[in-house]
Each structure stands twice: as C-alpha cells, then as structure tokens.
Amino acid sequence: MVPIAYYLVLAAILFAIGIAAFLIKRNVITIFMSIELMLNAVNLTFVAFSHMWHQVSGQIFVFFVMVVAAAEAAVGLAIIIALFRVRQTLDVDHINLMKD
C-alpha cells in the first residue's frame, strides 16, 4: 500500500535532477543523457496515473514515448558524431558558431 503521491514525488525529484543536470553539465553527451532522465521521470508519472485510473492508456503512451526516445537517441547521437567531426570538441561552451 504505497500512496500514488509518493510515486509522483519520486518522479518530480528525478525530473528536477534531470533539469539541474541539463543546466550544469558541459558535455553534450551528458546533456543528452539528462534529457533521457527527464523522459523517464515523466514515464513514471504516466504509469502511476495509469494505475490510479485503472486503465492501460497511460502505459500505451509510455510505450510511444519509448519509441520516440529511441528514434531521438539515434538521430541525436548521429548529430553529435557529425558535430565532433567538424568542431573536434564535445564541450558546449566551445560550440558557439551561431553565437558570435
């Protein structure tokens, strides 16, 4: 007997850690990983609410989120490889072609 609210609070904590990592990390691969962490936190909320409403629609939504996350990871990592070929760095502070 765990209150649903505890699962939601856990998801909020994971989401906030994802936001902090997104802002603090300087490596573009790690920033990408923190996006995956935020997606996972939202998935946990979907599953918890799906349990609460006794329906599988939330779980199917999580399934689609997983599919889109897999596609996003493939394309994003290919972009990172192309970026590394051009700039020879993974530090986002040095990737400032559009800034100056």
Binding site: M1, V2, P3, I4, A5, Y6, Y7, L8, V9, L10, I13, L14, F15, I17, A20, A21, F22, L23, I24, K25, R26, N27, I29, T30, F32, M33, E36, L37, N40, N43, L44, V47, A48, S50, H51, M52, H54, V56, I60, V62, F63, F64, M66, V67, V68, A69, A70, A71, E72, A73, A74, V75, L77, A78, I80, I81, A82, L90, D91, D93
Partner: protein, 168 residues
C-alpha cells in the same frame, strides 16, 4: 512489502540520478543512468505494468544506453572541465530545480487522499493480463499511431545514417 520495494528502488533511482549529476566522466554518468532505468523498471512492475518493465530493460537499459556508451567510446570523450558558464548554471540551476521539486511535492502531497494508494499485482479486475490488455488496445483502436511510429523509426534510421556519414 511494496513500501519496502518502493523505498529501496526509489532511493536507488535518486542516488543514480545524483551520481549522473556529480560524476565528471561521461561513462560514469551513463552507467549510473542504467541504474536509474533498472530501478524504474522495478517500480513499473510494482505498479502492475509488467510489459513496460520488460520494455524498459530491453529498450532503455539495453538498446539506448548501449548506443550512448558506444558513442562515448567512439568519440573518446574525457572528463569535462568546469568553466565560467557552468558556474552560472550552478547558481541558477540548483535553486530552480529545488523550487520545482518543492512546488510539485506540495501539490502531490496535499492531494494524496484523492490520489489513493496502489495495490501489488496489478489493478485489472478481470482475468485478462496486462500484456493482452495493452496489445488489444494497441492493435485495435490505436493501430494507426502504431503504424505511424514504425514510419518514424524508419525515418530516424535513415536520418542517423545520413548524418553520421563521413562526407557531410
């Protein structure tokens, strides 16, 4: 029983996420993200989503994280260095994230009576299993979105191949 499972794996997930935040080397961050995803799979299972627990382990912890670690090794990514930009992010990011946690926790915990509690072993009252319920919905009323996602995956494969080519 279930509260013990929740506490153990919830703490494991939070510890893994904090480790992702504080480790400097990308490979350590990737491995702690695997810990987070595995503990989330256990939490999905305790919420009665067996299919998603299996899919979480196979798709996230298996496929996506292997792709991440593969790219980290391919690009030989080293430790990140602390720069001026990241100090500003420390000042703005930590309080912002803490404010989001406080706000969301307040909303959720003040409504905990309406949100109810979980029961172990799923919630579907009839004898159908979780997987058959999901597949029935997925292949009848949601067939079109399911087919569209397969086209999305195909486009993503083509895009990844084109972007990672040598001559861009």
């Amino acid at each position: 029983m279930q509260i013990a499972l929740f506490i153990i794996f919830g703490l494991l997930a939070v510890a893994g996420a904090l480790n992702l935040l504080f480790q400097r080397h990308p490979i350590n961050s990737a491995l702690s993200l695997v810990v987070v995803m595995m503990s989330l799979a256990v939490l999905y299972w305790s919420l009665g989503a067996e299919f998603l627990a299996a899919a979480q382990v196979i798709v996230y912890a298996g496929a996506i994280m292997v792709l991440f670690i593969f790219v980290v090794m391919l690009l030989n990514a080293g430790e990140e260095d602390r720069t001026h930009g990241s100090k500003i992010a420390y000042i703005a990011g930590i309080p912002g994230a803490a404010a989001i946690v406080c706000l969301l926790s307040y909303v959720f915990l003040s409504n905990r009576q309406q949100l109810g509690t979980t029961q172990l072993g799923g919630y579907l009252s009839s004898s159908v299993s979780n997987i058959s319920e999901i597949s029935h919905t997925l292949f009848t009323s949601l067939l079109l979105p399911f087919e569209v996602t397969s086209i999305l995956i195909l486009v993503a494969i083509l895009g990844a191949v084109v972007l990672a080519r040598k001559e861009l």
